[in-house]
């Protein structure tokens, strides 16, 4: 490529060719890429519509307002066969969120315990943790799900021979039945008290750290906050005169009736995803803690900090910076793995969507909805974790 550099500045002759101008060329390439991209999308879209039309297959999203006509086993919201397809999808979406959220929380807790356990000086704890990690991360998640569903939960007794646990809790092969709380008058004040407790705890923490920065006096803000968050709702509950009664499960003709039931499908999916993902989180936690140089701990000890404070204020904040980015990937993996629910009949987004796909024949639309929803959940998780990561990142003063 010949670049003309010999021309003096201020020359009013046109340049030999605009094509050789790097700025112009880079703009052209960007525009071309954009055009190709848009044309490709348009082509896919158009081709799909055309093919559907030629095959006489109805298309469009209008069907979502039609009557679903089928029932769903587990639902967090009111749903009957008279509800719309959209509502059915919403039921599946909430079930996916439920299993993803509870799974993430549990996997994180187990993962941190096992990860720290692997670093333990106690030989037994370290080895047990290691075996846990090696076993669970080397088995495909689907098999872990089957293990829980067919190996553990399916061998529970029939409803008539339920295992009777304390507090009217029953365990059988239809799930775990427990008394359903029925809140009385004025019970709405309890969540309000809970929120007030959270706000008060945040304020106390801020005040305590400001005071410590000013005077050097520490304040047990963690315990105070804990007491506020738990204590305020309990006090409110007692002050209202305990407005709570229970709907107890009782033996019916086929199943237990009354109370709330958590089905074995949810339980096995939740346990399997938690245990599976926890193995990966444990390794992330271990590598994160290992990455903090020993000198940091020694320096903290030299400054006279106690062991607990050293861990909380020196080691963990530095380890978290290493832990959070890969942790995000594991959270996303868990969310996506929840679609394995279909193998055991848990009504998650994919299972319900699949039923709708088949009943209405709108394959393209349903697949598009699936992709859009999983993408949204994953992006939301990523955004939150990026925010958390930025908060935890090294702040230079």
């Amino acid at each position: 490529m010949a670049v003309n550099v010999s021309e003096p500045a201020g020359d009013d002759r046109p340049r030999s060719s605009l094509l050789y101008d790097p700025v112009f060329r880079s703009i052209i390439y960007q525009v071309l890429t954009a055009i190709i991209f848009v044309a490709l999308i348009w082509w896919f879209w158009n081709n799909t519509l055309e093919n559907l039309r030629r095959a006489n297959i109805a298309s469009g999203f209008g069907f979502l307002n039609g009557r679903a006509g089928f029932d769903v086993g587990q639902s967090l919201i009111a749903y009957t066969s008279d509800s719309t397809y959209l509502r059915a999808l919403y039921v599946g979406f909430l079930n996916t969120l439920l299993v993803a959220f509870t799974g993430i929380v549990t996997a994180t807790i187990i993962g941190f315990i096992v990860g720290i356990g692997r670093l333990s000086h106690n030989w037994l704890i370290a080895k047990v943790s290691q075996v846990y990690v090696e076993v669970f991360r080397n088995i495909p998640p689907l098999l872990v799900i089957f293990f829980w569903y067919k190996g553990v939960l399916a061998v529970l007794p029939q409803p008539r021979d339920s295992i009777h646990l304390p507090l009217s809790v029953f365990l059988n092969n239809r799930g775990l039945a427990f008394p359903r709380p029925i809140w009385g008058d004025g019970a709405g004040a309890i969540p309000v008290a809970f929120l007030v407790g959270i706000v008060a705890a945040i304020l106390v923490t801020k005040w305590a750290s400001a005071r410590q920065a000013r005077t050097g006096q520490p304040f047990p803000s963690g315990w105070t906050g804990f007491g506020l968050i738990l204590g305020l709702p309990i006090l409110t509950f007692l002050a209202l005169g305990s407005p709570l009664s229970f709907d107890y499960p009782v033996a019916g003709k086929f199943n237990l009736s009354g109370g709330s039931v958590v089905g074995p499908e949810f339980v096995s999916l939740y346990l399997a995803l938690s245990f599976y993902t926890a193995a990966f989180i444990a390794e992330i936690v271990r590598s994160g803690i290992r990455s903090v140089p020993k000198g940091q701990t020694e320096a903290a000890f030299a400054l006279g900090l106690q062991s607990g404070v050293t861990t909380r204020k020196v080691v963990v904040p530095q380890a978290l910076r290493i832990i959070i980015p890969p942790l995000t990937s594991q959270y996303l993996n868990l969310t996506k793995n929840s679609s394995l629910a279909i193998a055991i009949g848990f009504s998650d987004l994919v299972a319900v969507g699949g039923t709708i796909l088949n009943q209405s024949g709108r394959a393209v639309e349903i697949v598009a909805i699936w992709m859009a929803i999983y993408l949204s959940i994953s992006l939301a998780t990523s955004l939150f974790m990026n925010w958390f990561n930025a908060k935890m990142a090294l702040v230079e003063r």
Partner: protein, 341 residues
């Protein structure tokens, strides 16, 4: 360079947008690839299931073989695609399979919104319930509060919801995608009731660990006309698939069997001569896009409708299902073929 590139891009884009390939008919493409790709059940005894060595057998499987025999004169020129209830429609819509013979119910929405065509009903079925004898249930109306195992994406699932709703009964659906999963869930006691088409219940009962512990309740809660389906837009192919069924029924009507079909070639009955392609200068087969021997080839390969039924579902099978509605019209059933002339 960039001019070339640009024109190439625009050219490709325009080509992609405007050129909708003029596809060959299904018959041409089946003949070109040398075999029929047939969607069948992934594992329902009597209708479509593979044995230990991978050989398929069943009522629907024989329909695939019959169509292959009509086209190629050879019932082995067929490949089977096992499908779940959910996979079957996209498989047919996308062209992955040439026809679907998978105990599938003919409904109006499948003929319209889904873009399929049904015509021949090879099995008149109805939805029923199966329970454990130990529950002492005598009627479906006593099932309130039960956990019901059902396969997702079926008409069964919809009928179930409607039936329980209209009778004010409560139930807890336990829904699986694959029939094998439904079977194992019911067998392990995850649910009290198994519901599907009654023929399916008889087939499933055989596969349970203790078949004699289960009874099929008397109620039939729906009409389930099962039959082969094809994509819309190819009337010739639609004719071949549906007239294969009518040929099977007609053969039973005429008393033509797999054993006596060669003898029947010498028949003096003009109807039978025409049916077997022995009439002078006839063009029934040609008009269908096939050989004049198409019906002969079908019967030679799989026998007549009665033989296919008895071999897979009736007295010749473990299922021992009575002909019932699937008896010939002349014997009090519903199986009736339009004249082949």
């Amino acid at each position: 360079m960039s001019k070339k590139l640009l024109s190439a891009i625009i050219g490709t884009a325009l080509l992609g947008l405007t050129a909708h390939t003029a596809s060959a008919t299904t018959l041409e493409s089946v003949k070109a690839k040398g075999f029929l790709q047939c969607g069948v059940n992934s594992g329902l005894a009597g209708f479509g299931f593979p044995d230990a060595s991978g050989n398929w057998s069943g009522f629907d499987v024989d329909y695939c073989r019959a169509v292959a025999a009509a086209i190629f004169g050879d019932p082995t020129k067929v490949k089977f695609t096992p499908t779940t209830a959910k996979e079957r429609f996209p498989a047919l819509q996308s062209g992955e399979i040439d026809m679907l013979a998978r105990n599938t119910t003919w409904t109006i929405s499948r003929d319209t919104a889904l873009g399929f065509l049904f015509r021949a009903v090879n099995y008149y079925d109805g939805q029923g319930f199966m329970v454990r004898k130990s529950l002492n249930v005598k009627s479906a109306l006593e099932l309130s509060g039960a956990a019901v195992c059902v396969q997702s994406g079926t008409t069964t699932e919809l009928n179930l919801a409607d039936y329980f709703k209209s009778h004010n009964l409560q139930y807890n659906p336990v829904v699986f995608e694959k029939i094998e999963e439904v079977n194992s869930a019911y067998d392990s006691g995850r649910c009290d009731v198994y519901t599907t088409d009654q023929s399916g219940l008889y087939a499933v009962r055989l596969t349970l660990s203790k078949p004699d512990d289960h009874i099929i309740l008397p109620e039939i809660i729906s009409k389930e006309p099962l039959g082969p389906a094809v994509r819309q837009g190819d009337p010739q192919w639609f004719n071949i698939v549906s007239w294969t069924h009518y040929a099977l029924v007609t053969a039973e009507d005429f008393g033509i069997t797999k054993a006596n079909v060669d003898e029947m070639l010498k028949s003096s009955n003009p109807d039978i001569k025409r049916f077997l392609g022995e009439e002078k200068d006839q063009h029934i087969g040609k008009d269908l896009g096939l050989d004049e021997k198409w019906a002969y080839n079908i019967i030679k390969a799989v026998g007549n409708y009665g033989e296919v039924f008895e071999r897979n579902l009736g007295s010749g099978s473990q299922l021992k299902i009575a002909r019932g509605l699937n008896q010939l019209w002349s014997k009090g059933g519903l199986q009736y073929a339009p004249p082949i002339r």
